[in-house]
Symmetry: C2
Subunit: 343 residues, 2 copies
C-alpha cells in the first residue's frame, strides 16, 4: 500500500525559496564545470569546445563537446536553462495543476563515448522543473560497458549508493530499480547497460517512485517503498548536489584502469556494434531526446549523445563462451551490483 503524507503539515518546506532558479541553475553549471575539468584531465589530449546558444522563446545553454581525445572518441556535456509560456503537453498531462503558469527548466546532461572498448560509455543527467505550484528534481547516472567487468559495475554502483545513503536509506534501492526499468530496450529484451540510478518527479512527497509512464514491474517498487517523511526542497537540492559530485569518483577510476588495456579489431568491431543499441535506445525510447526533437530543441545539442561511429549487423550472434556472449547473456541483467562480491 502506498502511504502519502499530507503536504499541508509542512507547507513552508514545500515552497521553493525565492532564489530557487538561480541556485539550481548555478548548481547545474557547477556540475558541468567540475565534470568537464575532470574529464579533460582524464583525457589528457583534447579539450572541450563550447558553443553557447539562445532559445527564441526564452533561455539558452552552453554545449561542450570534446572530440578525438586520448580517452574519448567523443564526449558532450550540456547545460541548458529554458523558460516559456507554453508548457509541453506531456508535462501538462502529468501535472495538470501546472496549467496556465510559465515554466522554467534547467539541467545538465552528458554522454561520453570512449575509444577503448574496455572503457564503458557513461551517461549523466540532472534536471529541475518549475511551473506555478509544481516543481521537481530528476536525473541520474548510468553505465554502459562493452566488456563485462563485474568489479567495475560494482564499484560504479557502490559509489553512487554512498551519495544516496547520505540522504535517505531507501534512495539507492528505489532509484537503482527505476534505472533498470527505464534503460531497457523492450524490442531487444535487453538492458542498455548495467544501470546506476534514475529518478524523476522528486518534489519531496512520498512515495519516491513516480513513474506512471513506466510499465511492468515498476508498480511493484511503489508498494515496496516504506512510508517515510516528506523531504524539503533544500534536502532535495543537497541530494542532487551530492549525486553530481559523485560522478567523477564513480567513473574516472574505471576509465583510468581500463584505458591501459590493449585491444584489437575484434573488440573495436564489437564496440561499434553495441553502440547501435545506444542509438536505438536514445531515438526510440528516451523521453528527453524525443521530446527535444519534437519541440524544436537544439538538434545538435540533443544528438551529441549519439556515438561518432556505429555499425549494425543483421542477426549478429557472438560466439558462445566469449566475453561478447557473456555481456548480453549474463551481464546485462538487473543485478544487486552494490553487494557484488568476487567469487
Amino acid at each position: 500500500m502506498i502511504l502519502t503524507t499530507d503536504v499541508a503539515t509542512k507547507p513552508n518546506s514545500f515552497i521553493p525559496p525565492a532564489d530557487s532558479r538561480t541556485r539550481v541553475s548555478k548548481l547545474m553549471r557547477d556540475i558541468q564545470d567540475e565534470i568537464c575539468l575532470g574529464l579533460e584531465k582524464l583525457d589528457g589530449v583534447s579539450k572541450f569546445r563550447e558553443d553557447s546558444w539562445d532559445r527564441e522563446e526564452g533561455g539558452g545553454g552552453r554545449t561542450r563537446v570534446l572530440c578525438n581525445g586520448g580517452v574519448f572518441e567523443q564526449g558532450g556535456v550540456n547545460f541548458s536553462e529554458v523558460w516559456g509560456k507554453h508548457l509541453p503537453p506531456s508535462i501538462l498531462k502529468q501535472r495538470p495543476e501546472a496549467a496556465g503558469h510559465e515554466f522554467y527548466a534547467t539541467g545538465t546532461s552528458m554522454v561520453l563515448h570512449p575509444r577503448n572498448p574496455y572503457i564503458p560509455t557513461v551517461h549523466l543527467n540532472y534536471r529541475y522543473f518549475e511551473a506555478g505550484p509544481v516543481w521537481w528534481f530528476g536525473g541520474g547516472a548510468d553505465l554502459t560497458p562493452y566488456y563485462p567487468f563485474p568489479e567495475d559495475a560494482a564499484y560504479f554502483h557502490q559509489t553512487l549508493k554512498q551519495a544516496c545513503d547520505k540522504h535517505h536509506p531507501e534512495y539507492y534501492n528505489v532509484f537503482k530499480k527505476w534505472c533498470d526499468e527505464y534503460f531497457y530496450l523492450s524490442h531487444r529484451q535487453e538492458m542498455r547497460g548495467i544501470g546506476g540510478i534514475f529518478f524523476d518527479y522528486q518534489d519531496g512527497q512520498v512515495p519516491f517512485y513516480r513513474g506512471p509512464e513506466l510499465t511492468g514491474t515498476a508498480a511493484l517498487y511503489s508498494d515496496s517503498i516504506p512510508a517515510s517523511e516528506p523531504r524539503t526542497w533544500e534536502e532535495l537540492l543537497a541530494f542532487v548536489t551530492d549525486c553530481g559530485k559523485a560522478f567523477l569518483p564513480a567513473y574516472v577510476p574505471i576509465a583510468e584502469k581500463r584505458k591501459k588495456m590493449e585491444y584489437g579489431d575484434r573488440e573495436r568491431q564489437f564496440q561499434l556494434y553495441r553502440r547501435g543499441r545506444y542509438v536505438e535506445f536514445n531515438l526510440v525510447y528516451d523521453r528527453g531526446t524525443i521530446f527535444g526533437l519534437q519541440t524544436n530543441g537544439r538538434t545538435e545539442s540533443i544528438l551529441m549523445s549519439l556515438p561518432p561511429l556505429v555499425r549494425w549487423e543483421y542477426c549478429y550472434q557472438p560466439e558462445p563462451n566469449t566475453p561478447e556472449a557473456e555481456l548480453s547473456e549474463k551481464f546485462l541483467k538487473p543485478q544487486d551490483w552494490a553487494n557484488w562480491q568476487a567469487a
Copy 2:
C-alpha cells in the same frame, strides 16, 4: 472541397474477391523474388541469404539480406504475411469499423545501402491490409542520394510516374507530394531524400489522399484532388503490381551508371555522415519501424533497414560551394523532378 463518391453505387467492386489474400500475398512474394534476382545481377558478387520466420500469433515471413556485395554494402528485402485477432490500436483509431474482426496484413519492404557514395540509397514498401469490411493498399518507393545528380532524380521520378499514369492521371501528382510530406525530418527541417511516391489507405474511394496523421501542407493536397470515380479492388491491385514492376527499371540504371565513378575518403565520410539521417528518420518517425518494434515484430527484420556503418559529427557543416553543401541547400527540397530539364 472534397467530393466523396457514394460507395453504395458500386458495391461489388469494393468487396475484395474471395481469394484476395492469396492473390496479394503472391504479388508481394513475386515483387520480392523479382527484385532480389535483379539486385543480385546488379551486384555481381554477393547473393541474398534467406531467413524464414514464423510469428506466434499467426503468419511469418522471409527476410533476405545481402552483405558485402560488389555494389551493396548491405541490402535487405523482406516479405511478411501476418494475421491475428488483436488489431493494433493505431489501426483501430484510424478505422473503428474494423473492431471485432480478425486482421490480415501482407507486404514487402526493402532498403539498399550501396557502398559507392555516388549511388543513392533506396527504399521500397508495398502492403495490403484487411479486417472485416475494411481493406486498403499502401506503399511507395523513394530515393536518398548522397551526391546531387538532378538527372538521376528526374529519371527515378519519371519512371515511377509512367507506372502511375497507366492507372490514373492524378496518382503521381498526389502520391509524389504525399511522399515529400512523409519522408521529412522535422528536427532537421530537411527531406530524407528526393522522394518518389508514397500512398496509404487506398481502398478505391476518393479522395486519394488520406493522411490524418500528416500535418502541414498535406491538407492542401486533399482539396486539390479533382473529383474522380472510385476504383475497384482489381484496379488497385493492378496499380500496385505495376508500381512493384517499376522498381528495377527506376533504380538499376542509376546504380549501373554511378557504380563506375571513383570516390575517396571524403565522399565515403560524407556518405557515412548522411546515413545518420536515415537512422534518425527510421527510428524517430517511421511508423512501420516504430510500430514493429513496439509490437514484438521480428527486430532483426525491421532493423535491417539501418545502415551497416554510420557516423555522427557534432555541428558538421559542409564547405560552401561543394557538392556536399549543394545536397542539403538545393537538392533536398521538394521539386518537380518529373519535369526537370537540364539547364
